[in-house]
Each structure stands twice: as C-alpha cells, then as structure tokens.
Amino acid sequence: MERIKKGLGNLGVVLVLAAGLAAWAVLPWYAILAIAVGLALWLALTHQGRLAIAASQMGVASLPQRWGASAVIVVGIAGVVGVLVALLAMAEGFEATLSTTGNDGSAIVLRGGSQSETNSIITRDQIPLIGDLAGIARGKDGRPLVSPELSQVVNMVTKADGTDANAQLRGVGPNAWELRPQVRVIAGRKFNPGMRELVVGQGAKKQYVGLEVGNQVELANNLWTVVGTFASGDAHDSELWADSETVANTYRLTAFQSVTAKLAGKDGFAQLKAAMAADPRLKLDVDTTEHYYSRQSENLTQFLKILGIVIGTIMAIGAVFGALNTMYAAVAGRAREIATMRAIGFRGLPVVVAVILETMLLALLGGVVGGAIAWIVFNGYTAATLGSNFSQVMFQFKVSPELLWNGLKWALGIGLVGGLFPALRAARLPVTEALRAA
C-alpha cells in the first residue's frame, strides 16, 4: 500500500513537473520576474520561508566540501547552455545578415519561376518597360529609380586555406548606391562607369586573397583594379561590385539578371505587382527585397534551430541525470544532518525548497558560465556558407540577450528537474532510521 501511494505520488510529481516545464518554456520574462519576486517574498516574510532560508544556508555552507561533485552540475549545464547558445547564435546571425539585406521599400524583379538571381534572365528591352511601371519611385531628374543588375559567380582563392571558393560579382547600375543606402564606401572610392574597377565588400576582402585597395585581380581573363572597400553589414558584404555594363561586356552577356527598384509610397509594391501582371510582355516575378532575402535564409536557419534544440535537449537529458546523481549523493551524504533538522522541527517544505534552491543556484552558475563562454568565443565569430546564388555568404554569429536569457531558462529548468527528486527523497527520509545510521 505504502509503495503504491509513493509510486502514485511520484507519478503526480512527474506530471506536474512536465506541465511546469512546458509553461516555463513559454513564460515571458515579466512572469518569471513575478515568480521570482513571489518566491523572495515568501522566503523573507513567512515562517516556513525563513526556515527554508536557514536550511538552504546550511546546504550552501557545506558546498565547498563537495566541490568535485557539485562541479558536475555546473560544468554539465554550462556545456548545454554553451552549445545551445552557440548553435542558435549561428542561426540568428545568418538570419539577421540576410533579412537586413532587403527592406520593404524596394523590390526585386526576376524572370518568372527563377527563384534566385543566378537563374534569372531579363532582356534589355524589358528594362525600360519595367521602369515605366506604376509603383516605382522616381529620382530628382524624373527618371525611375531602378538598377538593372548582373550577378556572376567568380572563383576566388580563400585566405584561410588557399582553396577555390565561389564569390559573387555583382554588376550594378548607377542607381544601386541610392537604392541601398546601407552600403557605404569605407576606403578608396566607388568604381567609374566603363572602367574595369571593383569595389569589394569588407567580408569578401577579409576572406579572399588579393582584394586590398590598389591591387589588381584577374576575372574572366581581364585585369580589374580594386578601387575601394564598402561596408553594408549584410549579405552584400560578401560581394564584389562593378559597373553592370562593364561586367556585361566582359562576360559577353546580352541580358541582365535582375532589376532592383525603389518603391513609391506605401502601396507601391501592390501597384507594381498589379502593373507587372497586367503587362503580357513581362513574364516576371516581383518581390520585396525584404521577402526575397529572408526567404533565402529560411531553410538553413530552420535547420540550425532544429539542430540546436535537438542537440541541446539530448545534452540537457544527460545533464539532468548528472544533476540527479550529484544531488542524490549530496542528500545521502547529509542524511544525518537533514534528519536532525527534521527532528528539531523543520517541516518537509523548507527541506524540499532548500535542496531545490541549492541545485538551482548551481544550475544558474552553470548557465552563466556557459552563456559567458558562448558570448566571449562566438559573438561576432565570422563563418561562411553557400547561399542560394551558389556563392559564399559570410555572416557573424549573433549572441543576443534573448538567446542568453533563453540559455538561463534552460539552465534553471535542468536545475529544477535535477533538484526536485532528491529534494523529495530528503523530505521523505525516515527520521529515526537516518539518525541511527552511521
């Protein structure tokens, strides 16, 4: 009978715990703050709470005696949080790089069904037709703000290990700089139309050999001079820019690949889309640059997030067992002490709270250590992958405060699970037996 009762009790605890963890995962920060404040008030103001504080103090005071075992909790949780935060920071960095590349004030036009610039073709006779469509903003001179562009993949040698990598050479029209105000020249100057001159993104300059200002590089059997470096803080940083007519001449291309256009007003995109659909000569797709670039990051970001959470969960399960092991041992080691407390009048609740608080404290320490390591090592760490234009996109890991906060939530969740069952065992310890045991 006792066994069944205890078993049912444990089952109840597991169910409540599962529900609690699920709620914990979705709680916003202010709800958690409210819980923390509530707990602090209970600890400070009620009799039971003060007893719990006293019991915790005893537990914490004995921590230095069992540093080895306690370190298992701290390091285990630091590992979970560090790996989780690093993987999610990679996803977030990639997403941020691509989503900031576009904005909802400009649109990109591609051949119908082509999905990316590399696959697209827009013939020269279509360019003026596109420029005349409704919804496109006009510059001071009254001409439409459009930039017909080419995007070529070129082989570049990486600085890291000297192997070939695909870099993106973008041929842009004279309006390109105005269409992308985030692109600023930070060294040298812009290229001159008609000249074989390149302005390189700061990311590309860092990754590939020979892109310093003043150098000459060979592309398509022609020598090009690097005349400047630009910074944009987004995917363009990985690109090499040149005059589109010069690129077209060099590669003997008779058509363009995409047109980027500034949208007029709020409903500019809707107007442009409608006008495009109404013109039978233009079998083209139009999309806001914001949507076009965010869509490119979707797959990889999704994959990295799932990967991070799966790896994090498996590691967290391992860390929970580690924490359980340590805390069971701690409770067993202090069985006499706990029995004595129970004998002199401590009730079950303060004992349970004390053990859980102690575990959560270690877990918090682990979470902070793991988050700090991830932040120090990975914040701003540059990586590159193949983007949807078949060329390298460089991005930086982004360890944001939200990610660190999430990491702490994971840490405290692991601490809660790891502390709860040993705490229950401590509270259920048969007092007389524990006192008698040597």
Partner: protein
Amino acid sequence: MKYLHLIWAALFRSKTRTLLTLLSVVAAFLLFGMLDSVRVAFNSSANVEGYDRLITTSKLSITQALPYSLLTQIESTPGVANVSYATWFGGIYKDPKNFFANYAVGPGFMELYPEYVLPAEQLQAFNSERIGTVVGESLAKQFGWKIGDDIPLQATIWPTKGSNDWHFKLVGIFKLADKKREGEERQMMFHWKYFDEANDFIKGQVHWYVLDLDDASKSTQVAKAIDAMSENSDRETKTQTEQAFNQAFFKQIGDIGLIVTAVMSAVFFTLLLLAGNTMAQAVRERIPELAVLKTIGFSNGSVLWLVLMESIVLIVIGGAIGLAIATLLMPAVSAASGGAIQLGTVPPATWLLGLALMVGLGIVVGAQPALRAMRLNIVDALAGR
C-alpha cells in the same frame, strides 16, 4: 573474465547511481552517433575513393558553361578513356523545398559511374527513350515514383517553348551499393540531347565534362593537357580529380567536421567529469571491501584491473545503448522530416570510433580511482582511517 560477476556486483551496488550515470553516457553517445554519422556521410560524398574520374569545368566558375565542341578535343587527348558531360538543370518538383540535384547528361554518363547500380534493361530503356529519366532509389521512395511515371519539373533557368513546365518519363531507378553514399541517390538525370533541343535559351552548352583514364596515375598530366587546349581562350577550363572538386564544393557549405568536434568535445568533457565523479564515489564507499579483497589474496594489480574494468564496462554498456538508439532513431528522424533531413544508419566507421572512445573514456575515468584502490594499505583501510 572470471571476475566478471564481481565487476557486475560492484556496478549494481548503488543502483540509482549506476543507472543515472549510465543514462548520461547513453545520452552522450546517442548524440555522438547521430553527429558523427552526419560527418561521415558528408566526408564520404566528398571523398569518392576507388574511382579515378576527372572533372573539367570552366575556370571562371562552375556556373559558366563550356562549349559542346570541346568534347572531341577531350576525347582525342592521349590517356583519356571515356568522356561524358552534363548540364545543370536545377528544376523544382512541385515545391522549392523538395530540393534535389537534376541535370542533363550526355551518352555514356551512367556507364562512367559503375557504382550507380542500374539494371541493364533499365539502362537500355534510358538510352532509347528521348524524354527518359533515371533517379536514385531514395528519391523515388520519397516521392513514391514508379517506373513509367510522368515526372513534371518546374524549370528555374531553362524554359521550354515559353513555359517552365518540363515532363520526363521515369525509366530507371539506380541505387548505390555503398550505404555511406546513399545521399547520392537524391539525383535525377535525363538526356542532354532532349534538353539541348527543347530549351529556349542555350544550344551546345555543357557545365561539366567527366572522364576516366587509361591509367589513373597519369591524372595530373592529362588534366594539364586538357587545360592547355583552351588556355588564353575566353572559355578556359579547369580539370581536377572528382575528389578535389567535391571537397572544394563541400568545404564551402561549412565546416561540418569542426562543428561536430566542438559539440562533442563539450559533451565528452562533461561526461568525463560526471563518470569520473561516480567512479571516485564508488571506490570511496567500497574501501573496506577492497581491503578485504586484498586480505584474501587479490594482488594490487587485480584490484586495479577490477576498478578499471568496472568503469570501462559502465561506459561501454551506456555507449553501446546510445549508439543503438541512434541507429534506430535516425531513419525515424529522416522519415519524420519528409526527406528534408537525410540521415542514413550509423556507419561502421562511427561504431569503431565510438568503441575506441568508450574504452578510452573508461580508462581515463577509471584511472585515478583504480590507482587509489591499488595503493590501499590494508590495515589503514580496514581500520577506516
């Protein structure tokens, strides 16, 4: 071996502790099994060994096409045995998320890839059907394609008669004997001739040539001879071994090996600490028992081995369970993702590396407690000092 029951009894002395440690080890090796399989799969498609093929692409970049007329020149290069060619199609089946490689191939392409096992009558059917196509088995399974099916592809680059709708007839399904290269079954090939005639944009363009040699050791000379033919033209070529070509490509996707190593270092470091702590505890509790063993005649060496074996057995059992779960879990993950994530089974290479890691970890974890047990002074230990 005769002490196995002793080791077993020692492990189950504290059931909770052993079970919890075991479960941590299981979790760690489950993760190891899955991550390392991904790494092995990734590397093996980059490292195609035993087939000495060369790939000729444009020197400018792989997206630049080469002229079809190069074929006769390459064929007549001394040392070249067979040549075929391919042009990237990049079509979409229903939804862009269903990504797989599809390209148009010249005659003799399938014969250059003997590891793509295609029944002889299907190969014949492919060679005689103008709009015929062959696909890998994984791909056919994922979309439920059968021989004779019409397969529509949405072109992203090459329209046909002003429309993006292309249709192919499935005539063959190939598979790879080597399980590690199962990822290469996610490909679809059809005739270059049909593609060349039916597309609106390009005629006589090839993205890459693939060739094999009379003598594999001459690959450097042959590659140089081929590249020399187009030197200083506007269509310069770059010829390299298939391995070098694949490696350069996969390297650009990202350094999978580095990520796997970093994650696993964090996991194993934690495991080391955790299991080490368990073993230290286990030995500390058993000091009087170990002293008794020594009193009744166990040598210092046997006591050392007992403790060391205990830690190795603990980690090997947990690790084997973890890898076994990974083996069962990975096909389930692939199925649940609807083909978006392709994981094969745990390859033998991962099992071997895993076993080596288990034994290594067991030794490192058990070393310190085992030495302590070996150096026990019987009198002190029995007296509880």
